[in-house]
Symmetry: C2
Subunit: 197 residues, 2 copies
DNA sequence: GACATTACTGGACCGGCGGTCCAGTTGTCG
DNA sequence: CGACAACTGGACCGCCGGTCCAGTAATGTC
């Protein structure tokens, strides 16, 4: 899935240190108020190293999220039911939502790092703005499962709505306060309403 | 509802010019990439004037949103059914969601201005971060209506989930492309699933 | 209508940040 | 072991949110 991309030994070490430092900072601060210099300092490297490796603030966040989401990605593509193939769509969807909520809750504020979910560079307008790979993957998974059982629904939009949950400041707050189960329950209720038994 | 706050004639004029300029810029750029200097220049005033009137970037966005949301606010508190009091909760909720989607769609990217939905100042942590008045109002309205018909549900969380829709980059994109009706339809489906006839 | 008061104005200025650059360093491979 | 490329890191750049304050012009009083 990921090309090995042979890196020098010190580069590998620093890459890991930077990611770990970023994650650590994210548990204490909101993504917007973490500066790249802070990250570099916390990782014990120079700012240039951070940018050389990740290209930009967005690239860093993107790499971090991708790494954390990898396990779930594998579970739904090649793992056993109910996350993996084999269970009915409704069951798989519910299992996925639960896993997703748990993932986000465990990595507090991690998804918030997606922030605008796209780099906020001076967009020349009109271009649809690149979407985050993890977002695309999750959206595809959800909409596919919905479509299998309820082809009459707008699965595409519905998947966006369900995922939107993870970009809401108040909800992320609730997650940080330990209300993951409430969110999970609410999402289940919503899905169950549309996909009865 | 709003104190008149006697302003000098020129202050009133400039306030309006700044709000109009901001709105105009928001139709062409994403909120994050509009600088306060741009706003000032577009409004034909100095930067100091903008900050004197609105205090901060967040204060400006907040004022803008509040003004646009005023009509809807009035409609649900003192207007006629189905938005105002008199209709059954389910009907009112559906009407509200439709109005909300339409409002956001018409003011492209306006809600995106809520961005983090709160000032991203260096939060001393722990404090729950002030919530935007408009958000609070909408959340209260939705959760109250849900609770009236389905007291068994977690109306509070459900309202947050429904509102989260408006903070999603992909969905705002869809709205800008004119898919407001698809979003409206999807939200109706979700609500109808939980509040059957 | 003149004057004092005071709110408003706007541009210079500040600290900090994302991102670039490049000279020096160090792993890697033949 | 030597040469080369990749990596490193700190100085540097342009920009931006926000502050400050001297100048300006509405407003109220007589």
């Amino acid at each position: 899935m990921t090309e090995p991309e042979r890196l020098r030994a010190d580069a590998v070490r620093n890459r890991a240190a930077i990611l770990r430092a970023t994650e650590d900072l994210l548990t204490r601060h909101h993504p917007q108020q973490i500066s790249m210099e802070q990250v570099a300092a916390a990782a014990g490297v120079g700012k240039g190293t951070v940018f050389h490796r990740f290209g930009s603030r967005y690239g860093l966040m993107r790499a971090l999220i991708q790494e954390r989401a990898q396990d779930l990605e594998i579970a739904i593509t090649t793992g056993p039911p109910p996350l993996g193939q084999g269970a009915p769509p409704r069951t798989r969807l519910l299992a996925f939502l639960t896993a997703m909520v748990e993932l986000v809750a465990r990595n507090k504020g991690l998804l918030a790092a997606l922030g605008p979910a796209a780099p906020v560079t001076a967009a020349p307008e009109q271009e649809p703005r690149e979407t985050h790979p993890v977002y695309r993957s999750w959206h595809g998974h959800i909409s596919q499962l919905v479509h299998q059982q309820r082809p009459d629904l707008d699965a595409d939009m519905l998947a966006h709505v369900l995922l939107a949950t993870l970009h809401s400041e108040p909800i992320l707050n609730a997650l940080e306060r330990g209300y993951a189960n409430r969110l999970d329950r609410t999402l289940r209720d919503l899905v169950t309403g549309l996909m009865p038994q």
